[in-house]
């Protein structure tokens, strides 16, 4: 059982009520799948998913104990670490497929765009969902790897959902999108110029589940059970792509055709520590951490 207010409510049967702050996108399919499969219930965890629009809503929720766990990308987590936000990762969240041209996120341009390779992005207007985050650092790395100069790329913020329209209307020269927007851009005839996650690091760990330092310290048992359940879910999801595509229909409104077409990410159990180091290095290089250096060891379990 858990103790204290941060540990969620424990009812008479010793079942923990656990709230997880997630973003309702493809990345978190395993936790929904795991919930369906009873991986959490087996471990006396009653899950409730709380969906937020991003770190701004989820991290405060976890820190304050409103949620017991949360989901966030690593750059955000590293950023939080540099500011000493009291959080700790508990399990891997999602990872890049590691295959050029076949990842769940990519930089796209219009079919007839003069941009041919990532190097051509230099000096262009590129949309990312959030500035100073995992999108722009990894895209910069793609440009660097392709031999271009990432310094004067003009990044603008456009939510993934609006990126296809922005590209179509010529408001930006290129967009960085993830699934399902990626499939949408492809369907509209978009051309891929970079698989930025793949360029950044081999088998990049993109996001993770985390909890507050307080809960990690006070209720190691609950955290353990949650981690085990998540890991089981991740493994299961990785092995059953069809079930993943099916479960997407339950918490998103992605239409069936897109669900069938979209590229699924990888869900390994292990966090690829080297790739996180790389992200930390890239972020520091791009000035995302305001001059600070994140302590990766402190963040990872």
């Amino acid at each position: 059982g858990s103790s204290g207010g941060s540990g969620g409510d424990t009812d008479a049967d010793g079942v923990d009520q656990v709230k997880v702050g997630v973003i309702p996108i493809v990345d978190v399919a395993p936790i929904y799948l795991g919930q369906q499969k009873g991986f959490f219930k087996n471990r006396n965890i009653e899950l409730t998913m709380e969906s937020g629009q991003g770190g701004a809503a989820i991290v405060p929720g976890v820190v304050s104990g409103q949620f017991q766990f949360g989901f966030s990308n690593f750059t955000s987590l590293l950023l939080a670490q540099t500011k000493n936000v009291p959080i700790k990762t508990v399990a891997n969240g999602v990872a890049s497929t590691g295959e050029q041209g076949k990842d769940f996120g990519a930089v796209m341009v219009k079919k007839d765009s003069p941009i041919k390779t990532a190097a051509d992005l230099a000096g262009k207007k590129v949309s990312v969902n959030t500035l100073k985050n995992i999108g722009d650092t990894t895209v910069r790395e793609s440009v660097r790897k392709a031999g271009g100069d990432p310094k004067n790329i003009n990044f603008v913020e456009v939510p993934f959902a609006n990126a296809p329209a922005a590209l179509e209307e010529g408001q930006v020269d290129a967009v960085w999108v993830v699934e399902p927007s990626l499939t949408q851009v492809k369907a509209a005839g978009g051309r891929m110029v970079a698989s930025n996650y793949v360029d950044a690091a081999p088998n990049l760990s993109v996001a993770a589940y985390f909890t507050s330092a307080k809960l990690a310290g006070e209720d190691a048992d609950l955290v353990n059970r949650f981690t085990e359940a998540i890991n089981e879910s991740l493994t299961y999801a990785d092995g059953h792509p069809d079930e993943v595509r099916a479960v997407l229909g339950s918490y998103t409104k992605i239409d069936e055709k897109t669900r069938a077409d979209l590229t699924l990410p990888k869900w390994p159990v292990e966090i690829n520590k080297e790739s996180v180091d790389t992200l930390a290095k890239l972020g520091a290089q791009d000035g995302i951490f305001d001059g600070a250096t994140p302590d990766v060891a402190k963040l990872l379990p």
Binding site: A56, S64, K132, N133, N154, V158, N162, A165, E169
Partner: protein
């Protein structure tokens, strides 16, 4: 002297209370005021004011001015004509109820992602108080005043400019006052989308990058900005509505 005391009194008390209550706060999201104030000085340097606050202010002024003009113009049209009001009001109410954040994508479709879009978002949000108050103000113009204008053949632009607008001006002022702070709010919201500079963008950026004291300092700056603008507004209103305040105060005070 007394006026200064009135202006500063309550804020000083509240800030002092905040200072004392938050001192030694452990909460990550509610840091001590001392920390916030410290970061205020560090964050809002002249340089930053130039690159972030000035562009925001320009968009704010443009959006506010546009909203004021549109609000009054449309408001007068609707207020004076019952048929137009009956036809147009539901459509306006429809748009009024749609949150700007979900409307932004649609606006982006038509206006791109530049300053134009942000100004439209500001206009879209803060035109409503002006519009509604103008409509109500125009509807409530004293019938004897209208009759006087009619009887003396005061028609067209003169009736509008010399009779109807002045008569409705106290309520229009209420709308403009409301719109001012909403404009600031929408300035922030508009900069949450497709922005790369601006006060709102910076605050949101601080929030996302867990620079919490800096974020609070930004909120304080927003408050100061609102206070400053409202002072300007009060001055302008005081001049434009001198007759009205005189009329209301004359018997009350003297």
């Amino acid at each position: 002297m007394k006026r200064v005391a009135y202006v500063l009194g309550l804020p000083v008390v509240l800030f002092a209370a905040w200072y004392l209550l938050s001192a030694g706060s452990e909460s990550f999201y509610a840091p001590p005021l001392s920390t916030i104030l410290e970061s205020f000085g560090k964050t809002w340097t002249l340089d930053r004011l130039g690159t972030d606050v000035v562009p925001s202010l320009l968009r704010l002024v443009a959006g506010y001015a546009l909203a004021a003009v549109i609000g009054v113009a449309v408001g007068v049209t609707i207020g004076l004509n019952r048929r137009v009001r009956a036809t147009v009001e539901p459509v306006l109410e429809f748009f009024r109820a749609i949150p700007p954040p979900v409307l932004v994508p649609v606006i982006m479709l038509f206006a791109g992602i530049g300053n134009g879009m942000k100004i439209i978002v500001i206009v879209f949000g803060c035109v409503w108080p002006v519009l509604l108050n103008t409509v109500e103000g125009v509807r409530a113009v004293d019938s004897v005043q209208i009759d006087t204008a009619k009887a003396y053949g005061i028609s067209g632009p003169a009736r509008l400019g010399r009779v109807i607008l002045p008569a409705a001006s106290p309520q229009i002022a209420a709308g403009l006052r409301q719109a001012l702070s909403i404009a600031i709010i929408l300035m922030v919201i508009s900069e949450m989308f497709a922005a790369s500079n601006g006060l709102g963008f910076t605050i949101v950026q601080f929030q996302r990058s867990f620079a919490i004291p800096e974020m609070w300092s930004g909120i304080i700056l927003l408050g100061l900005l609102g206070f400053g603008l409202s002072l300007l507004f009060r001055l302008a209103e005081g001049r434009a509505l001198r007759w009205y305040h005189g009329l209301r105060d004359a018997q009350r005070r003297s």
